[in-house]
Symmetry: D2
Subunit: 335 residues, 4 copies
Amino acid sequence: MINVGVIGVGYWGPNIIRNFYAHPKTNVVKCSDLRDERLAYVKKTYPVIETTKDANDVINDPRIDLIAIITPVYTHYELAKRCLEAGKHVLIEKPMTSNSADSERLIELAKSKNLQIFVDHTFVFTGAVAKIKETISSGELGDLFYFDSVRVNLGLFQHDINVLWDLAPHDISIMQTLLNLKPESVVATGSDHLKNGIENIAYLSVYYPDNVIGHIHANWLSPVKVRQTLIAGTKKMIVWDDIEPTEKIRIYDKGIDVIETANQVYDMLIQYRTGDMYCPKINSAEALTVEVDNIVACLEENQKSLANGEDGLMVVKILEAAEKSLKNRGQEVKI
Amino acid sequence: MINVGVIGVGYWGPNIIRNFYAHPKTNVVKCSDLRDERLAYVKKTYPVIETTKDANDVINDPRIDLIAIITPVYTHYELAKRCLEAGKHVLIEKPMTSNSADSERLIELAKSKNLQIFVDHTFVFTGAVAKIKETISSGELGDLFYFDSVRVNLGLFQHDINVLWDLAPHDISIMQTLLNLKPESVVATGSDHLKNGIENIAYLSVYYPDNVIGHIHANWLSPVKVRQTLIAGTKKMIVWDDIEPTEKIRIYDKGIDVIETANQVYDMLIQYRTGDMYCPKINSAEALTVEVDNIVACLEENQKSLANGEDGLMVVKILEAAEKSLKNRGQEVKI
Amino acid sequence: MINVGVIGVGYWGPNIIRNFYAHPKTNVVKCSDLRDERLAYVKKTYPVIETTKDANDVINDPRIDLIAIITPVYTHYELAKRCLEAGKHVLIEKPMTSNSADSERLIELAKSKNLQIFVDHTFVFTGAVAKIKETISSGELGDLFYFDSVRVNLGLFQHDINVLWDLAPHDISIMQTLLNLKPESVVATGSDHLKNGIENIAYLSVYYPDNVIGHIHANWLSPVKVRQTLIAGTKKMIVWDDIEPTEKIRIYDKGIDVIETANQVYDMLIQYRTGDMYCPKINSAEALTVEVDNIVACLEENQKSLANGEDGLMVVKILEAAEKSLKNRGQEVKI
Amino acid sequence: MINVGVIGVGYWGPNIIRNFYAHPKTNVVKCSDLRDERLAYVKKTYPVIETTKDANDVINDPRIDLIAIITPVYTHYELAKRCLEAGKHVLIEKPMTSNSADSERLIELAKSKNLQIFVDHTFVFTGAVAKIKETISSGELGDLFYFDSVRVNLGLFQHDINVLWDLAPHDISIMQTLLNLKPESVVATGSDHLKNGIENIAYLSVYYPDNVIGHIHANWLSPVKVRQTLIAGTKKMIVWDDIEPTEKIRIYDKGIDVIETANQVYDMLIQYRTGDMYCPKINSAEALTVEVDNIVACLEENQKSLANGEDGLMVVKILEAAEKSLKNRGQEVKI
């Protein structure tokens, strides 16, 4: 049995608690939050879970093996550092930290203590991402061309982070999981329509080797909710529409064939292929349930998670570079 | 009666001919094309129209008042120049020319000859754009925040121009018509997956005064056809889906209200408004028919077109800047 | 405070318990079910609620004011009778009883005891139905023409009732609430593809006065889930798509105008109107929450519910007639 | 070369002319229509085609081999009879005639003259129907359960025929082609909201052997255009949405497995299967082009068409029975 502590019971914390509570191999021992009403909520729903206003009560509880840190980003580093120093594994809400140096320090610390860092890149554990990953790995798409993701909504404006730090961690973690490539550089544009220095619309391009490109449109001010990703390769192409209740992934047998002629380049002949489309059945289990399974397996077998500290660091590096590019109107920033 | 000549009868030319042929105040006198089979097509469909392989026969025909130039971009400047010198008004296929200096020279020449330049920004004449323009002009949207357009498909790879020069003129001309703002600078990214120097995917950001931003995603290599535009203002927001057969425009009574508090900025209170949505009925007339009407009216009354040489020049300026930015991975280029 | 007892904790019971549990003016005292594991579920989730395997323990509990009967249809009459005899108000899962005579007996009994019968026609309490009702009542649609509803899915085959008794109570209760007309007769067709006498696909037509017609397609064996209703009147028309997450109702300013000519009938001129469409904002509260509010208000103020015994009886009458018609291949059955 | 005459150049006639005109093995010789402006239209578009106001000029033209009759239904029998008597093959617009006796007479007459009757069941020649037919024939769907079709729109009210005779011939001809079963009986309901005896909404059920059922919803008074067909079998299920521009057909690997237990019937265990879905690529050629190909092939090789007189007769028989049932509120009418 893995004993779990939770720091932060805001919007997302209850889902974390519910899943660790329900898993047969984990047990939620204690939660902390600064707000009385959040602790009252926990007490009412799970009478057996202890509550406290002081995070140190969780960090220093000798029964606890793993601590989930589900607090605002700017607190992640300090809390995770103290958890690791206290000998606890950590699950950190995304993005891992406010800057990449902090993420690197945490990775170093965890390594020295032989502890694991899990980052809550929840989408990586969805049936949709698993199926796309499987499709790409099988070679069915051929060589990849691009990853294009739109995540827009009339969303919750944040006070401390811009739309990139808020929404793009989802897309970046998905993109890195699927492409499995080291980014070269980043270009970002956007705007803060409230003129408060916090961008509410942002466009992020990521250059990868071999002309592969990634692009993310993140927007808190869209009248409609769109969560659509296009992924194209030399052989097939995928459309993933996460709003669709059941047919989330469509795999198109479409593409181009390049027939090089004597005259080369200019006369390059391009032929289009259009065949069937299919929607594979995907695992509909809740992503967080799969994530908890993964955490348990990693701890039991001392293996690397699909969303470990290194993965969290890469997301933060890209965000950090994007932030710099955004503030300089599209200046290319190397990773 | 306005007598019209047409140079170039490729993919788009037949639509131009059909519309000038049908209009009660215009008459198609002569067409030229280098390809015999295209001229045969014209002969069969419109026995009364004269055909020739030599564009000069059109340019120098004393009966002709207006010449439509529907040829590859790189030929536009030379042909238009000769038409204007021969005293003809011109309608030039978009984009107007390969570079902004050429567009400026044509504008100068037309002015000195007291002739008109029309640029074939067809979308500007659709019922959808007219309705959105009317909605914005009425103040219903409030102050504008952004214009975001996606135009992707498994499209026709071009040999001489990249996807920006091919597809983005549509979106740029629409954006300029709707926002009616002078752009400050441009940032573009993209990739040529065939490694032939001709980008097949591109993302273009345009910075406007007062934090307004425009963005265009143009892509020849998408498995699905998407033509969707989001436009948001302080009061309302629009989604224009041009694939929809009838309900193309949805106007959302959605937005945010900012309640400034004593503590200002950080504590800025943001409230969401969500009300009804409506789809206004739009004029379903063919855009090209409306465009020909507009040309006739402009010539008869010596007025400025909705898509005149200045409009064509601005589109070329943005494309030119975007091309430069694209080749330099997102470097900001001033307009 | 209204004390509530619940008989039957199967698929739907937990939602009933959760809503009565959460409402500030109701209190769930006791639940019964024949299955130990269902009672264990209640115990774990709501430690304060008493549980029992004997429904009589609920029926005879002197603290209880209202009993919710959430059991198979064939048990409704007997249980509701005993509840009413014990002086309790009842909330009966739809359809009210297996035959109309039983429903009539319950209504009589309740009247004699001055008790109320609520029937769980949940859809009647949705924001969508409320908004459509409001639109019709305002006269915006003009005179009604038809009500057409499709409710199909790859659904749960039932062992004791056919697809009409399973799915159509939703549509019939909605239709009766919206049209507010007395049906004249019923025609039903369908088939039992498993040849077990339990139809899994059924089509039901209901004739109303003044040429108004209702139609329901209920189907357990559809590859896709469809829940779409069309309602047309002389002035406007509605499409209600209950699968849509937000834009459930579309109101079309479409219709026909009949211009009677001297020659009458045969030369009747019909003109089409097509105007804007709009999606009104609808109340997104859970229907069951609104229903519990309604029950509380009715008990406190001794008023008639929107889904009372008479409403339940009419649904059963239509189902009964439909069953007879279905078994006789479309024979018209008067109501 | 097959010489073709056309009687009737209203809404549909021009499509017939265009396709026979374009086909390399057919030649349109002469057209007739009572209206001068329709003949003027033909003259302008096809100067080589002769025109006349007298249908007899077409019927008696010795050069003509095949006559297309594209006139109101009530004229079909008389015109077709005279054509056949004059020794011409005929292509008759759907539905074949106003009553089944007339269709039978025409079949008899054609047989005696060794001539062919083609009925213009255009949909039978679409890529969609061809692909569904192929899928069913391969056994991929297993045993068929039902065919359910919805064809609704804010359509053109007809003066002489009701919505069943106007729209349902499409669905009936498709259904008969796909199911390839002899119908047992028909039940129809509907209403004439204008109270002129011409129903504008109708529901038609067709009983087939072995519990297979067909259902068609035809409606001239719907705010939205729907053309959707569901077809389910024991193994797979199809959704055909004809409004979709490209992905018209979706084949679902969904269904039920019945596990019979000792206790039989009541305890029948039903298990659901849910697998992948795929959209096969379908032939996008214009249906009428395929139909003309089929006519040419049948005449050249003296073979039976996919839409011959017998097929036309069956559609008329079902319509005739449906009409009778409709007028008697769902009375079952045997075929």
